[in-house]
């Protein structure tokens, strides 16, 4: 049996990579994709504990997280499309003026 700790370490590694992606990249689409990576890391954690306690509650919560990730990705990408139409850029550094 693989110890639970390995799944927790994997989840932590993916989480930190996602956090680095959110904090350091300029392209807003990559920032959004890193947020999806963070949510997936949390999902691995939840499923590992769901297996440890032999109940499906963790899996149900993971389903809700996937649903929320879908809703957030949809809205986020809509915002990016609207921003792109107005500012012609997808770099986060350049979207710094509310009105020109």
């Amino acid at each position: 049996m693989i110890p639970v700790d390995l799944y927790l370490f994997l989840s932590l590694a993916l989480f930190i990579i996602g956090v680095i992606g959110v904090l350091t990249r300029r392209n807003v689409i990559v920032i959004l994709m890193s947020i999806e990576l963070i949510l997936n890391a949390v999902n691995i954690n939840l499923i590992a504990f769901s297996r440890m306690w032999s109940s499906v509650d963790g899996q149900v919560f993971a389903i809700f997280i996937i649903t929320d990730a879908a809703a957030e990705a949809v809205v986020g990408l809509g915002i990016i499309l609207a921003l792109f139409r107005n500012r012609e850029t997808v770099l986060a550094d350049e979207m710094d003026m509310l009105k020109w």
Partner: protein
């Protein structure tokens, strides 16, 4: 047992390597492809943890739905000029250091307690019919969050249509 740990090593390695590649690529479409790789590896890990319904849901929804949406939007806003600009912003070193510090703290917490948590193995098995168990939990105990999630999805759909429409 050996197959189990080989499978876990392979899937975990694939997930981490894909994630690192995703965060560092210059070309956004390549980043999306590597994120797909990470998500499929994660789905494999779900399957290994005997969460078969989540395995297929992850692939159908996340990879087959959300990532298709990402790839569509990337192709709509892809500017070739951005390939020549710097990809990382000015705070990259401070941000990286802080993230690694956070990771180090959580890792220390895990390390202090490692070996305390165990899978109970076959002595307390998961429900044999995973899909049915998840369905029953969703529609009996977690009915209210389920309904709220559906309203959330409806709101997100309407919001996306409104925001992506052209102002004629």
């Amino acid at each position: 047992m050996l197959l189990n740990s080989i499978l876990f090593d392979f899937l975990a390695g694939l997930a981490v390597v894909s994630a690192i590649l995703m965060v560092t690529r210059r070309n956004v479409v390549h980043s999306a492809v590597f994120l797909i790789g990470t998500l499929v590896a994660t789905a494999g890990i779900f399957l290994q943890l005997q969460a078969e319904f989540l395995f297929v849901v992850q692939i159908i929804l996340y990879v087959g739905g959300i990532m298709v949406l990402f790839v569509f939007v990337i192709m709509l806003v892809n500017l070739d000029v951005t390939l020549r600009f710097p990809q990382f912003n000015r705070q990259k070193f401070v941000a990286g250091a802080l993230a690694i510090a956070l990771g180090g703290q959580v890792f220390a917490a895990y390390w202090i307690g490692h070996g305390a948590l165990h899978f109970k193995g076959s002595s307390s098995p998961m429900p044999a019919k995973n899909t049915e168990a998840v369905g029953q939990a969703l529609f009996q105990h977690y009915m209210l969050p389920f309904e709220i999630a559906s309203i959330l999805l409806l709101v997100a759909m309407i919001g996306a249509v409104v925001m992506a429409k052209r102002r004629v």
